[in-house]
Symmetry: C2
Subunit: 399 residues, 2 copies
């Protein structure tokens, strides 16, 4: 049964909280959760973070199957959480619903787009929370808020009943304060892994470590050393001779075309009001040259093949989830844009290649959280969650 | 039937050549071969490159099983070839038998210790030749003489009837002028591969590329680009944060102790005369502190595990076989020593980890050959030979 809950960090969408009891028995009994407000819950509006979206869409007729699975497993839903408008942003800002407070760094952004789910989890309002991840929307708020987060293998879990942003990149995802809860949710939602041997070794992705702020890399170094001692993490991998900027650019172009294909008709017809940044991104998506999107897709095919072959034997990539802690709330828009581009060069690794990634709340920089990511081959989500739980134990994180 | 053969490069040991016909039928009928004079041939002395060794050992009572297998497969033996004394050196120098001429760079060393086998193959005197490899003794002369060479997985092929140098490192190996012949010999000698999927992708080992002379790296770059276009070779791997110097040092210490264990009693009792360098290496082996050898073995265990896990999925390492073409015959001893140390930091990768490695005659620098190596997981020798044959075709090398 959910405990009495006060939304101390502004994580939930305004209005009465949507509450549903979990089944009386099941592996998640006793756990409470929230869902990002792009998942449908029967009879409720789905705002997708934007008032005009809510005003132009009827309440949901059915609950998203993933949410339904969690309820049936015994978890209790205690609210729908804020999201960046149409999930198209990484800071977590929402000018209509209010930006959630980052519980572990109140002077900084919570990260997004799954900002409310990350904040609710970090504040201990729920045991876990569902988000979604297209270009980093679970991983980045997990890193910024100091909680565990997973972006599962693309296609592993149904996104039926969830709003799209870039369907060939979109995945669900979830946050938890403890590694064991992150894993337990996976056991409910994930298919069985493709048969394969144990995961390992860990490969340090050089570009991502070099891309990190020196203070962030230094803050994560002790955790890396402990993982090395336990699992072996001495091998270094250079996976993008093109540079992370090129990964980001290919990701951006291919994804923007999909965003416009998925949402452009509504943008044109509804003429919605957008907060800062979101309008600009849809304007760029609208005018994305088809040949740039095609080049992005072609690059993705080669990059996927490159990583799939490398990771088939069980190797796991390890690198800072974000190159730095969250930007401060006072950061100017230009700085926010620069941070987003630099961050998405890293998140594009799993994003382009369709890999599964778990972010561990492994360190703090200037008091603000920053995550360490473990990234495995597509289809190895359960093994990755088990590895993450073991890593959490090695790192003395909540298990 | 072997063609009339004139030893234009001084590849064979002095005296009458040891000739044996091959079986009338078999996969190697029509091919001629030579064997390094550390393999036993029944009724013949095995000199091991040193007159005192020959004088203190009776003629062999049996032919080494690997040589016997080649004869039974139809190949015709047409001689025993020169080796560095007790196989303990990389230049190919032998002051007692005379250093073979490098057919493709006559002003440079042929490389060793399997110098005569490499020279005989490069000069076209034989279709293939058996060598042996402890720390590079097939791979380096293959690189220097411009022929194909393989060091198979440690333990894959029996070394019965072959003189030891460092038993936990020693492997046989062979040279061929054509990739198809290199592969055909493997089909006779090698066990079936461990079941596994296809090989790939190719990983550029950063330390080995950085260790190569700039001219050598540049000369090999076009071949790498062609392999990248065909097989994917864009990923870069840093496998030795300890540095190649540390790999060499661990290799040297562990191997020297074994060399003294295998050969020390004979050195003490026979008081052999050695040429330059060999005596010094045995003196160092004799005084190797046990704790340094133990540290080398301990390092090897971790390094093996690190590489085995990484390569289990089929990934193949790619790097210059040697950091430069062969040193010139006029190089002073100090320069030869420096070249050896720098070279063995690279050969120690497969040497320590027990991997299989094929060197392709991929480029020339200042007119002198230099090889490009493909290195696969232990037990993947047949797949590696098939990949090497495909690579040879891509690179327009003799197939």
């Amino acid at each position: 049964m959910p405990k009495p809950l006060q939304d101390t960090v502004g994580a939930f969408i305004p209005g009465p909280r949507v509450e549903l009891p979990g089944a009386a028995s099941g592996p998640l009994v006793g756990l409470s959760f929230a869902v990002k407000d792009l998942y449908d819950v029967a009879g409720q509006p789905t705002t997708y973070g934007n008032p005009d979206w809510a005003a132009t869409h009827p309440p949901a007729v059915a609950t998203a199957p993933s949410v339904q699975a969690l309820l049936q497993a015994g978890a209790a839903l205690c609210g729908k959480t804020k999201t960046v408008e149409l999930a198209y942003g990484l800071t977590g800002e929402n000018v209509w619903h209010g930006t959630p407070t980052n519980p572990n760094a109140p002077d900084r952004f919570p990260g997004g787009s799954s900002c409310g789910s990350a904040a609710a989890t970090a504040a201990g309002l729920v045991d876990f929370a569902m988000g979604s991840d297209t270009g980093g929307s679970v991983r980045i708020p997990a890193s910024y808020c100091g909680v565990f987060g997973i972006r599962p293998t693309w296609g592993a879990i149904s996104l039926a009943g969830a709003c799209p942003l870039g369907p060939s990149f979109d995945t669900p995802g979830w946050f938890a304060g403890r590694a064991g809860v992150l894993q337990a949710v996976g056991e409910v939602l994930l298919p069985q892994d493709s048969p394969a041997g144990p995961l390992g070794p860990l490969l340090r992705v050089e570009e991502a470590w070099a891309n990190a702020d020196p203070l962030t890399a230094a803050a994560l170094a002790p955790a890396l050393a402990r993982l090395d001692a336990r699992f072996g993490a001495a091998l270094r991998l250079g996976l993008a001779p093109e540079g992370l900027d090129a990964l980001y650019e290919h990701f951006r172009c291919a994804q923007a075309e999909e965003a416009w294909a998925a949402l452009g008709a509504w943008v044109v017809s509804a003429q919605p009001k957008f907060g800062p940044g979101v309008a600009e991104r849809f304007a760029a998506a609208r005018t994305m040259p088809p040949e740039k999107a095609a080049a992005g897709r072609a690059f993705r095919r080669g990059f996927q093949a490159r990583l799939a072959a490398l990771l088939a034997g069980g190797a796991v990539l390890v690198y800072p989830t974000s190159p730095a802690p969250a930007p401060r709330l006072t950061a100017p828009q230009a700085e926010q844009n620069a941070v987003r581009e630099r961050t998405m060069g890293v998140t594009a690794i799993a994003g382009l290649a369709g890999l599964c990634e778990v972010s561990l709340p492994a360190a703090r920089v200037d008091g603000a959280p920053v995550g360490l990511s473990l990234v495995a081959a597509a289809g190895r989500d359960r093994a990755l969650l088990a590895l993450a739980a073991e890593a959490a134990s090695v790192l003395d994180l909540p298990v």
